[in-house]
Symmetry: C2
Subunit: 449 residues, 2 copies
């Protein structure tokens, strides 16, 4: 088991009768998910993905990753939202947040096309100068504004640098199987393409080619990742007793605390390698549950760093939150605190201990302190930072999210609220179409008031 | 004026009578701050710092920065909380988040000692191998756990690499003026030292030597930064009419929205260069106001990136928040969206526009959409990403924080809640002392239950 829930700090906050009261709802949400009988059931492809993954496609991903590694020093990954966060989370989970600065025999990986900052583009143009480059552009339609702008700029860059023919060998496209502007362009240019499945939404897509191609380029083991997800599926998809299924228990705890008045769930990691996993989790839960005036606001912290910034608020500020703590069991490094005969800093009482041991004591100490401050804490134990554990954790959080979302009473697989700003933006940028004319007129009236 | 508040999106949420009702409180909080007559008034050194900055110390900082630049390829900055966030925020504000990966004639700067991750230390040991290194360790006492561990390890590294004498020339210490273990060690070893002032708390210390030495090493203009703060002081410290003082107005808006039931303030930037400024701001406001069961939970987002993750929740989830948007007027780069005759991505309607222009339209579109979703938005206009504007903004946020905290009714300058986890940690790590014996016993009882 790469993921286990530890509820030892929750006892003062949730009674066994509360678990019993919600168990039926949780169980039925699991059944609804598994039997694909609920809202949004067109988007449940991730559920059986780890079992069904197309062997040919997996082979092609590994081959493309090998080719990319041999061709370039820098891979630029163009994508936003679910076409960005999952891959970056995986690369940093496995290799650490300083991946690009470490000595290694795999390319640097920069993520671009996830904002509209001119500085991002100009900095990356300067970083790739004099280096060998490949692109992986990830977009189902090919027309999402941020990645489309970046792809326009970097495609031009690649064609100027390499010529059209060589550039085509260095551009890898993850897009719709058959339709869309990007698929058409890829076929015309001869880009190698990979498929964004129709039945998996962006935030559930990290274990599809969307995430797996850049992850494979980084040298992480994508087969092990899928195996982890497959094993999590076996562990959590069929067991209906919440006392025997940590995935259901996590969904239950979130709903019990939401109903008891908590507004914010803070995901806390004690390793910088988890920072982007927290960002991925924030999209997964925020976009799945934050609708119809409902949901827990998903926040995150990097401890112990943020104990020296947000620690005061969590301990003693407005009682809004509970914390879900990622507890890494086996660290990647075994740094030991040296002994200093002079002991000027007074640290000799922990000399000889590993930093990991001290880090885990800090975690325990913090949970105890925050619980004393009235903040419920639950712990999610992660075995290690392997590719296998990442895949296992992804499936754990995705399934728990579906179950939790159905329990809240929302469709966990749509995101109707993200269209509002886009429509305004298209209107204000002068895009043609009667829909945008009407919005432009409405905004004009609002602003003139 | 490098910072201006724009309240055009707030009209549906705050009436002029609400401003009038709170104006007296805000005004008196300003007077309390300026006259140093309130709680925590021993920690108001930052108030007049931009005027009083010791010319000799400023000169010494610039000389040390010059020496560091000539001696090394990598500066390791060891510090946590206020001894970390301000400097990193400034470096990224001015140079961007990819500073270490850009071509430049200043050293890479890595921040360490702000967590207890063994991976952070081992990755940095590998990064500095074969490179020339300097250290800047920042700690008032020298005994804070995280930086003390890192300094123990990297001091040993430096002495092994360079020998004790040469290492001493490469280690720069920012600590108490006269007392403390780190000051004693520095005097014994001959390290160059800089002063952490007695009357300025960590989160208000970025414009002291705490922040200014690493900032100067990065090539940012620390004199201009202090001038920006001095000009902000003149603009905001004396004007008592909230309609003429944006700093007071910001404090007023936060308190009005808090009292009307908002729980979360989200600081939103549209440039990745602002991500660490948001982290600095979170410490400033969270630690200053989050006490006694009070305060707005400070969160942050990087747009448009996070419109594709948290956008759904903000638009349509639980109505917890308001947004404060950083609006950059003059970008650092002028990237233009190219024209593509084939127009496969449908972007030709914005071809020829600068990305900055599109980015700012996205900002406006988002504010309009979120306001429609019931989320109050206020805009803080920043002139540019200069050192001067950073200093100006720092003073703006610090003064607004003091005024806002007094208006909430807390002491904005203490942080009693951060001790709880530390005491537990010392107890669990076996530190000697009767205080820790008692805590150990109490924890033992709790756990055995």
């Amino acid at each position: 088991m790469s993921v286990k829930l530890n509820d030892c700090y929750l006892k003062p906050f949730i009674s066994s009768s509360e678990y019993e009261a919600i168990a039926g709802e949780i169980q039925s949400a699991l059944v609804t998910t598994r039997e694909k009988s609920g809202a949004g059931n067109d988007f449940l492809g991730w559920l059986d993905l780890p079992e069904n993954f197309d062997k040919k496609e997996l082979f092609d991903i590994e081959e493309a990753a090998k080719d990319i590694r041999s061709m370039c020093d820098v891979l630029l990954v163009i994508g936003i939202g679910g076409s960005y966060l999952g891959a970056r989370a995986a690369v940093e989970f496995v290799h650490g947040p300083r991946y690009n600065n470490l000595k290694k025999d795999t390319p640097d990986i920069y993520f671009v096309g996830n904002d509209i900052s001119p500085s991002t583009v100009s900095e990356l143009l300067s970083i790739v100068e004099d280096r060998q480059v490949c692109l992986n552009v990830i977009s189902k339609s090919g027309t999402t504004t941020e990645p489309a702008i970046a792809f326009r700029i970097f495609r031009e860059y690649m064609e100027n640098k390499y010529g059209e023919e060589e550039a085509a060998k260095r551009i890898f496209v993850t897009t719709d199987r058959a339709r869309g502007k990007l698929k058409e362009l890829s076929d015309a240019k001869g880009y190698r393409t990979f498929v964004v499945p129709d039945d998996i939404g962006g935030r559930f897509s990290v274990l599809t080619p969307v995430g797996l191609l850049p992850i494979a380029v980084s040298g992480a083991d994508v087969r092990a990742m899928l195996q982890g997800a497959a094993d999590a599926r076996n562990a959590f998809l069929f067991e209906e007793n919440i006392e025997k299924n940590d995935c259901l228990k996590y969904a239950a705890i979130r709903n019990i605390l939401l109903r008891s008045g908590k507004s914010i769930e803070i995901l806390a990691g004690y390793e910088p390698a988890f920072a982007m996993t927290c960002e991925w989790w924030k999209q997964l839960y925020g976009e799945s549950e934050g609708k119809g005036g409902n949901g827990l606001y998903p926040a995150s912290v990097c401890f112990t760093t943020d104990l020296h910034s947000l620690g005061q608020f969590i301990q003693d500020g407005t009682a809004l939150m509970f914390e879900t703590v990622l507890d890494l069991k086996t660290p990647k490094a075994k740094t030991v605190i040296p002994y200093d005969p002079a002991n000027t800093d007074g640290l000799n009482y922990i000399a000889g201990k590993s930093m990991h041991e001290v880090n885990r004591v800090a975690m325990q100490a913090t949970a105890l302190a925050h619980v004393d401050g009235g903040v419920p804490n639950l712990v999610i134990e992660l075995a290690d930072r392997s590719s296998y554990s990442f895949g296992y954790m992804v499936y754990f959080f995705e399934l728990a999210c579906a179950v939790s979302g159905y329990t809240i009473g929302v469709n966990p697989f749509d995101q109707p609220g993200v269209e509002a700003y886009k429509k305004n933006m298209f209107a204000l940028l002068g895009k043609q179409g009667s829909e945008f004319d009407a919005i432009r007129a409405a905004i004009g009236e609002k602003i003139s008031k």
